[in-house]
Structure formats: structure tokens, C-alpha cells
């Protein structure tokens, strides 16, 4: 189980960091999400891996460490809120710049012929706010 756990962590981390290093907003958001999944698993693993133990204190039994579970729950909640905020903010940036580059400099690939044209639908949605 340890090997599978470690391999999962490694793959998630590698994918997350690769996507993080892209300069487009959507891959970056996905990368952060994958990375935070990896970290949540990692936190869980720090309470030591075990099979078949009760999650809370039972009479006389060996139980799984509940603290990492609480930590992971908190981290998931915070991460969820942050991801939602990032998505909204990057949509706003896309509407303002017409570009999903993190620096806002380069236009969207499909708009490269007309660099100042914004994606019309998103702009309309943003104006509707």
C-alpha cells in the first residue's frame, strides 16, 4: 500500500507542478488543484497509513490518528473556497484582457489574428453582473 500511495502522490505532484508552470490561467488552476489533492493525501499519510482501524476511539482498540483527518477537512474547505475565487478572478481577467495568459500580455490562441478582440460571450456575461 505504501508504494501505491507514494506513487499516487508523486504522479499528482508532478502533474500539478507541470501544470503550474504553464503560463495559462486554466492549466495553472488545474495544477493548483492537483497539487492540493496531493498535499491532502500527504497530510493523511502523515498520520501513518493503516488498514481496518476504527476512525475514532473505540473501547480498547487501536484507532487511526484523527488529527490529520481534521486537518485535511479544513484544508479541503479552504482549498475549495480559494479555487472558486481563483476561477472567478481569472474569468474577470479574461473578460478585461481577452487573454488567459497569466501576465495578460498575449492574446488567446484562437484570437491571435485579431489581438484586441475579446471573447464576446464572456464579456457579455461580465457586463451582465
Amino acid at each position: 500500500m505504501e508504494a501505491a500511495f507514494a506513487a499516487t502522490l508523486g504522479v499528482l505532484c508532478a502533474c500539478g507542478i507541470y501544470l503550474l508552470l504553464c503560463a495559462r490561467v486554466l492549466p495553472v488552476i488545474l495544477g493548483i488543484t492537483l497539487f492540493s489533492y496531493a498535499i491532502n493525501l500527504f497530510l493523511l499519510g502523515m498520520g501513518r497509513l493503516s488498514i481496518g482501524k476504527p476512525p475514532v476511539i473505540a473501547a480498547g482498540a487501536q484507532y487511526a490518528d484523527p488529527v490529520p483527518q481534521a486537518l485535511v477537512l479544513t484544508a479541503i474547505v479552504i482549498g475549495f473556497a480559494m479555487t472558486a475565487f481563483t476561477v472567478v478572478l481569472s474569468l474577470r481577467a479574461l473578460a478585461i484582457d481577452g487573454s488567459d495568459h497569466v501576465d495578460g500580455g498575449k492574446p488567446l490562441a484562437r484570437n491571435r489574428s485579431k489581438p484586441h478582440e475579446r471573447p464576446p460571450r464572456i464579456e457579455k456575461e461580465m457586463r451582465g453582473e
Binding site: S36, A81, A93, G104
Partner: protein, 553 residues
């Protein structure tokens, strides 16, 4: 148990909740809640500081679950000092916020209260995970505050700030996970105790976790390779927000001190190698980068942002020494630089406000393209050439000019001078005293590196600040068409008053330096005395025995 300990968290929390829950029409009530909650923080913080000044470390177990199992708030001299500083800054920012500032976005006042809650919580948290949670709270509020007012530049810089801090938070969790895996506890004092008795095989893991933790705090404090976000982010925030953010980098410094002393202090130098070999040189690089950056830009907010970097570099350099002398000097300089940069950010809002003063904006457009490539949305329609020909404008009647108040006024100029003197670290203000204390605390081997860096960066800061001041106070009014934009921007009087209040704090810190230094010496000594924390926070040997039993099972 002293329930007052949790008030600095509860007051902003309930105020923010009430402001959000109130209907949007109840503006007056929202404002009243905001004012009362912010002003109430000051007496609470002062009362806590008085309590802490007696040298006792107060701890408050939430839900009466004892440490190390429950969540503990702890109040020592350092935490109390930071609480007072935050409350003071918050009151000045409140005074410096005009209703026009608040009206730029819907929930400005609630966000400020959430920010204060996060800050106060971070200064009180007694365990590492709650430090993380309060960091996240203050960051979430700061993301929204940074965006306050909207616009292309804010959204772009806000996105950078957000993404960087998200990655930083992930690394915080990694360090946290490793430390929990090693010690089986999250309470900082307890963790320190267990790290002290760590088997040698686990030492590299502890070193890795410590270094990661310090780098994460370094990102919040804007240490050199992690500092590129700061000037642009602070520049795009509105003045009162930027002034409140003056304490945000100091939260990073605070967390560094706290973890270095409490978590890693007792474990025989787990962090020493990192602090001496890495953090020290990064701090020097931060000083140099900040000074060069301040020289390269010309808008007051960006210049101030780079000056924040210079001060952060000096603070971290002092933090790496881990001695009472250096840390008390560090804390004195921290107070001084927070107040001075807060004042400069507020001044920047009146002197080069977005709504007025086409001339400063036009001059800003001449800044180097690399730093200003994001700014074309705010570039003015008026070209600099048009500004440089005031003769083309029809001369105003002399009496019309008399009725208009001269802007920038002499008061603004005097405040700028005082804030600049304080920020650059010139005598007679406390910035100089703080720098001198830090430099005096350096042993010879470090002094040979730090003294030249600090002195040269001080010179560059003076050049940058005097150039910015010349432009804002003399060149811009002179090049403006006569009578055109000579009125003060709306609400500048309250902003100048807030700025004067901050600078009064600086003057008080200068005059009462002896008194303050006595408190800070005691603070640093207390911080480095781990035994006192063990006695105060971990209740009784019984609890430790129980912990040992749980570990054994």
C-alpha cells in the same frame, strides 16, 4: 481564565458578520459598526499588552480542551506588541478611508474587519495549524481588498498575488504535515519539546520542514527571490489598503521569529544552518534588490513598495542572528518601518490619486517600460508634452488662484518629509535609531557584509525618496496648467490627518525609545526562553505523561 484573550479575534469577526448581514441600504449602521469595532481593538490590545508586560505568558484553551490536544491561544509580549501595532495601524487606516474609497466596492468594511481578524488571530495562535488557518483568513481578505476598486491592473496583479500565495499555502501544509508526522503534535511549544528529543535519523526531515516553513514565511514577508509580487501588488491597492498591508509583510517576520524560537529553538540548531547560510544571504539580496528597485521607479506607491523590501531585508538579517540584542533591535525597527510605510502609502493616495492630478499620472507614464507594461489602462489621455507647456493655457485671474487652496499643501509636504526621513532611516526619527540598533547588534563577521549593504541602500532610498518628493511636490504642480488641478483631491484632509497620526506614533517611538526598548529587550528575552512557554502553555506533568503514553501505544 482570562477571556479577554479572544476578544481581538471575536470583535472583528462579529463586526464583519454584522456588516455582511445588514442590508446594503443601512450604510450608516455599517459605518458605525466598522468604526466602533476598529476603535474597540485599541483599548483591548493595550489592556492585553499591559497584562503581557508583566512577563506572564497567558494561554487560553478554546473549549477548555487542554494543550497539547486542544486549540490554544497564547499571549506573550511579542503577540501583544503586534496586536497594539495592528490596532494602531487599523485606526489610522480607518481615519484615512474616505467614504468614496469604501464605495468603490460593496463589502469593503467587512473585508477590513476580516483582515483584522486574521491578523489578530495569527498573532495569538498557539499552534501551527491555527497559524495556517489565520494566515489563510487574512490572505482571503487581502485578495479581495487588493482588488478593491477593480480595473485591469488590480485584477492582473491580484491574480499574481493570489496564485503565488496559493502555492505558498500548499508548501505551508507540506511543512506542517512533515512536522506533524515527526512529532505527533501541532502545538508549537509541545512540538519544540519533541523536536528537542528527536532521534538523529529524523533530523534531516525536521531541517527540511523548518526550511520550507521559513521559505513560506519568506514569501509572505517578500524575501528576495519571492518578492517580485510585492511592489506591483501594493501599488495597485488603494491607499488605506496598502497602508494596512504594511503590517502584512511583518506577519511573515513575526511567524519566522515565533517558529524559530518556539518550535526550533530547543532542538539544538535544526534551523541554524538554514538561517546562517541561506536566510542571511537572501536578506542581503533583498536589501540590495529593494534599494535598486526604489531607484528604478518613480511612482510613490511603487517606491514605497521597494522600501518595504529594504526594511524586510534588514529585519530578516537581524532575525537570523537569534540573539536577544538583535531581536529587540529588530522589533524596534519593525514598529518604526510599519508606521512610516503606512504613512507613505496614505500620502501616496492624496499626492498621486487616480481621480485627480493628470500631471503626476502623465509623469508616471514615463516610467521604465518593463515595470509599467501593465499600466497602459491607467495611462492618461494627456501627453507629457501637453503638460510641459503651461504657457499655452490662458492665464487665470490672480484672485481665482487665491480662492483655491494650494495643492500639494505645505502640510502634505511636511508630512512627506517626515515620513521619508523615517522610512529612509535618517536621524532624528526612529527609523535611524532602529537601523543603528540593528547594525550595533551585528557581530563583526556579519557586520562587514551588512553595514555596507544597509548604508548604501539607505543612500539609494534617500535619492529615490527625494526624487519622488521633488516630482510630486514641486515639479508636478509647476508643470500643471495654472489653476487646472490645483485643488486637493476629495478627502485628502482626513488622509493627511491619518498620516499625521501615524507619524505621531513614529515621533512617540523616537522620544520614548528608552521605555520602548526596555519592553522590547524583555520581549526578545522572553521569546528565547522556551522554558517559560512550556510552563505556561503545557498545563502539568500529567498532560505530558498522557502524551507520552499516547505516543507509546
Amino acid at each position: 481564565m482570562n477571556h479577554a484573550l479572544i476578544l481581538p479575534i471575536l470583535i472583528p469577526l462579529f463586526a464583519a458578520g454584522a456588516i455582511v448581514a445588514l442590508p446594503l441600504r443601512a450604510k450608516r449602521l455599517q459605518r458605525a459598526i466598522n468604526v466602533i469595532a476598529t476603535l474597540a481593538l485599541l483599548p483591548v490590545a493595550v489592556a492585553l499588552a499591559e497584562h503581557a508586560a508583566q512577563g506572564e505568558i497567558a494561554s487560553y484553551a478554546l473549549g477548555a480542551w487542554p494543550a497539547p490536544f486542544g486549540i490554544v491561544l497564547q499571549l506573550d509580549r511579542l503577540g501583544a506588541l503586534m496586536l497594539v501595532l495592528t490596532a494602531l495601524l487599523a485606526c489610522c487606516c480607518l481615519l484615512g478611508t474616505t467614504s468614496a474609497d469604501a464605495r468603490l466596492g460593496r463589502y469593503y468594511r467587512a473585508l477590513v474587519q476580516f483582515e483584522l481578524m486574521g491578523l489578530n488571530g495569527a498573532f495569538l495562535a498557539g499552534d501551527l495549524f491555527n497559524l495556517f488557518v489565520f494566515f489563510e483568513l487574512l490572505l482571503i481578505a487581502s485578495y479581495a481588498l487588493l482588488l478593491h476598486g477593480g480595473g485591469r491592473r488590480r485584477v492582473r496583479n491580484g491574480l499574481h498575488y493570489l496564485l503565488l500565495n496559493l502555492v505558498g499555502s500548499s508548501f505551508f501544509l507540506i511543512a506542517l504535515g512533515v512536522l506533524y508526522g515527526l512529532t505527533g503534535t501541532l502545538n508549537m511549544v509541545d512540538m519544540g519539546e519533541r523536536l528537542a528529543h528527536l532521534e538523529p535519523a529524523s533530523l534531516p526531515l525536521a531541517q527540511f520542514a523548518g526550511a520550507t516553513l521559513m521559505l513560506v514565511f519568506g514569501l509572505k514577508a517578500a524575501v528576495f527571490p519571492l518578492s517580485f509580487w510585492l511592489p506591483q501588488a501594493y501599488r495597485s491597492a488603494i491607499g488605506p489598503v496598502a497602508a494596512l498591508f504594511a503590517i502584512m509583510t511583518k506577519v511573515g517576520i513575526y511567524a519566522m521569529l515565533r517558529c524559530d524560537a518556539l518550535v526550533f529553538g530547543g532542538s539544538g540548531g535544526v534551523l541554524d544552518a538554514f538561517m546562517h547560510d541561506w536566510a542571511w544571504w537572501l536578506a542581503i539580496a533583498t536589501i540590495i534588490y529593494g534599494a535598486l528597485g526604489a531607484l528604478a521607479v518613480s511612482s510613490l506607491k511603487t517606491t514605497t513598495g521597494f522600501l518595504v523590501l529594504v526594511s524586510v531585508g534588514l529585519l530578516i538579517a537581524a532575525a537570523t542572528l537569534q540573539t536577544v540584542l538583535a531581536w529587540s533591535a529588530l522589533l524596534y525597527y519593525l514598529i518604526s518601518t510599519t508606521l512610516c510605510t503606512g504613512a507613505l502609502f496614505l500620502l501616496a493616495d492624496t499626492l498621486e490619486s487616480e481621480s485627480t492630478g493628470a500631471a503626476p499620472a502623465a509623469l508616471e507614464a514615463r516610467e521604465p517600460a518593463s515595470l509599467e507594461s501593465l499600466d497602459d489602462a491607467t495611462a492618461p489621455a494627456i501627453t507629457p508634452e501637453a503638460d510641459s507647456e503651461p504657457a499655452a493655457v490662458a492665464p487665470q485671474p490672480a484672485n481665482a488662484q487665491k480662492t483655491l487652496a494650494r495643492w500639494p499643501s505645505n502640510t502634505a509636504g511636511a508630512l512627506y518629509l517626515a515620513a521619508a526621513v523615517g522610512a529612509a532611516g535618517l536621524p532624528p526619527l526612529s527609523g535611524f535609531l532602529g537601523k543603528a540598533m540593528v547594525l550595533a547588534a551585528m557581530p563583526l563577521s556579519q557586520a562587514t557584509v551588512l553595514w555596507p549593504a544597509v548604508l548604501i541602500s539607505g543612500l539609494l532610498s534617500i535619492v529615490a525618496l527625494s526624487r519622488t518628493g521633488t516630482r510630486l511636490l514641486w515639479a508636478a504642480p509647476a508643470s500643471r496648467p495654472s489653476g487646472a488641478a490645483a485643488t486637493a483631491p476629495h478627502g485628502s484632509r482626513t488622509k493627511l490627518a491619518a498620516c499625521a497620526l501615524l507619524l505621531a506614533g513614529v515621533v512617540a517611538a523616537t522620544i520614548l525609545a528608552g521605555l520602548l526598548k526596555g519592553y522590547l529587550d524583555a520581549t526578545a528575552a522572553q521569546l528565547l526562553d522556551r522554558e517559560a512557554y512550556v510552563h505556561a502553555v503545557l498545563p502539568a506533568p500529567a498532560a505530558q505523561a498522557a502524551a507520552a503514553q499516547a505516543e507509546g501505544s
